[in-house]
């Protein structure tokens, strides 16, 4: 209607929209490692029943999804695929990072092939810690995201304010690469392999 992008959305209408959005989250399951099974237990099993929270774990494509749950170890080979996935999702989009590996590298913090945290590639809204987190923990993460959506200013989000933007991620990537380049120059002769 043009109200959102012009930033003239009345407050009651914002709240109504936000409530609608928070209770109809279509979640795309990006299951990678151990956490994928716990995510499957949370989203697919009768015991935890995620649909009572208004989350629909069914979209067959990221192009129909509001939320993606990245669950599991992200390797440097997988990282570009995840970035492309994120770019395909329509705005407004949210990301839950599930498990220690997706948060920061987890038990593979020193591995040569694991990306140390998906927040180096895409912005993350909620981090769920654990290795792997229990299904209840993931549900808690979903509830936290819903609360965040309820308090969101849609106009600000539309203008790219008020949430982590890709510029921030790019800046962080640049800083990390600079640091590593500096280290390798100092060490001289050590074969340095960085994939970013």
């Amino acid at each position: 209607m043009g109200l959102v992008d012009r930033g003239r959305l009345p407050k009651p209408l914002t709240q109504l929209f936000n409530m609608g959005r928070s209770y109809s989250l279509w979640v795309y399951q990006w299951g990678l490692a151990c956490c994928a099974i716990e995510m499957g237990a949370a989203f697919g099993s009768p015991r935890y029943d995620v649909m009572r929270l208004g989350v629909i774990p069914l979209p067959a494509s990221p192009r129909q999804a509001d939320l993606v749950v990245i669950s599991g170890t992200v390797t440097d080979k997988m990282a570009p695929v995840i970035k492309r996935l994120y770019e395909q999702m329509p705005e407004p989009k949210y990301v839950i990072s599930m498990g220690s590996c997706a948060n920061c590298g987890g038990p593979y913090w020193d591995s040569y092939s694991v990306t140390k945290g998906i927040d180096q590639i895409i912005p993350v809204d909620v981090y769920v810690p654990g290795c792997p987190p229990r299904p209840e923990a993931l549900l808690e993460g979903v509830v936290m995201l819903q609360q965040r959506i309820k308090n969101e200013d849609m106009g600000a989000r539309w203008r790219g304010e008020g949430s982590q933007s890709m510029a921030l991620v790019a800046a962080r990537q640049g800083a990390a690469k600079q640091m590593i380049d500096g280290m390798s120059a100092e060490r001289g002769g050590v074969p340095v392999v960085v994939d970013h």
Binding site: C34, I37, A41, S45, P46, K77, M78, P107, Y112
Partner: protein, 390 residues
């Protein structure tokens, strides 16, 4: 031959050739089909590039590595107890079973042996992780064929087993319960009775799955005679576990080698199937879950009293030497070749995981099958990406 080194150019030429190919008799056209790296049929992050002639597969390239975490390198910078925590995550559905061969290899090098009660508990937990693993396979099998119900049943009944594992070890998914020289703790009170009840539930689950899935005509016609692996080929590729036994090889590492575990103290049967097709592989796995429930029940009845930990030094140093220990894990033969140089951590660990060998047959096996059969054959081979890529 000169082009072989340049992968991108090679695959470009091959895909061009496949796309341009036209079968004049059947009037079919070639095309390249990409499945993955994130696709439900690939159980995670496997990518399969298939060149098709109409509906038939001409050439297949499974591209793995999307879950490669560099285990063998990481073990070299960790101490032995830290490695145990790490190897849990190789085959994430049967975590406890991954710890056992590594611990046994370290114990072999140190010349110690766990007490009898610890051996029994290890075997019980090993079989429980097999049940938790393979029951999810049986549920997932239905999904791959378009039946949604079995996976809900599998998740429902698997929770009982996970609760048992959590009750005993404190970890629902990754127990990290095995220690060099025994176990971290004894079993909690009332655990054995609970186990008996759960085993009855699991056997009922097997009956349900057998009625619902294995007796189904669609299931049979989709799996019988599809993806046949002859005995000789299976051995050459180093296939193991139910995949090998479904090709008629009567070989089970639980029975055919002597390890300080409790399998030789109970009565159970190794199931084989002569057909070697997808149906045989699924059927053998179903029987194995049943046998596992029987093994657990007998071990629960005969578990001896005593300590669960033998005397080991506080800081574990493993003497110099090399050792190879393999066990019959839910997915097949899992082994660790541990080279120690008397340090706090291993010098080199070669992790032989079952799925890597089981999957290496796919370029041979998928040649000539139809596109829908790719999914059922992959499902019946049963791999876990963490186990392929390590």
């Amino acid at each position: 031959m000169t082009l072989l080194g340049d992968r991108q150019q090679l695959s470009y030429i091959a895909s061009q050739a496949a796309d341009a190919r036209v079968n004049l008799e059947l009037e079919t056209e070639g095309m390249t089909l990409n499945i993955g790296p994130q696709h439900p049929a690939t159980h995670g992050t496997l990518r399969i590039i298939a060149r098709l002639d109409g509906e038939q597969v001409v050439w297949v390239d499974p591209s793995c590595g999307y879950m490669h975490r560099g285990y063998e390198k990481l073990t070299e910078v960790r101490t032995y107890p830290q490695v145990t925590a790490l190897v849990n995550r190789i085959d994430w559905l049967g975590s406890f079973a991954n710890e056992v061969p590594f611990i046994l290899a370290a114990e072999k090098l140190m010349g110690i042996e766990a007490p009898l009660r610890a051996q029994h508990i290890r075997t019980i937990l090993f079989e429980l992780s097999r049940i938790a693993n393979v029951s999810l396979f049986l549920g997932d099998l239905g999904v791959q064929l378009g039946a949604i119900t079995p996976v809900f049943m599998a998740f429902r009944d698997r929770e009982y087993v996970l609760n048992l594992i959590e009750g005993a070890t404190g970890g629902r998914f990754h127990p990290n319960f095995d220690r060099i020289g025994g176990l971290k703790d004894d079993l909690p009170a009332g655990w054995l009775d609970e186990t008996r009840t759960v085993m009855k539930k699991l056997r009922r689950f097997c009956d349900e799955i057998e009625d619902l899935l294995f007796g189904n005509e669609i299931f049979q016609s989709r799996t019988r005679g599809i993806g046949v692996i002859p005995r000789d080929i299976a051995l050459q590729y180093g296939m193991s576990g139910a995949n090998l036994r479904a090709s008629g090889v009567d070989w089970d590492l639980r029975r055919d080698q002597s390890l300080p575990m409790a399998w030789d103290k109970v009565d159970w049967k190794v199931w084989t199937h002569p057909d070697g097709d997808s149906f045989a592989r699924c059927w053998v796995r179903l029987q194995e879950v049943r046998e596992s429930t029987r093994i657990v029940e007998q071990l629960v009845d005969t578990i001896p009293a005593g300590p669960v930990m033998t005397k080991v030094p506080r800081i574990i140093k493993v003497p110099e030497g090399e050792a190879w220990v393999c066990t019959e894990n839910p997915l097949g033969e899992m082994g660790y070749y541990v080279v120690s140089q008397g340090d706090l951590g291993p010098f080199r660990v070669k992790i032989r995981s079952a799925s890597f060998n089981n999957m290496s047959i796919t370029p041979w096996l998928l040649k000539g099958v139809y596109v829908p059969d790719i999914v059922t054959i992959l499902a019946s081979l049963y791999f876990i990406l963490g186990d392929i890529d390590r």
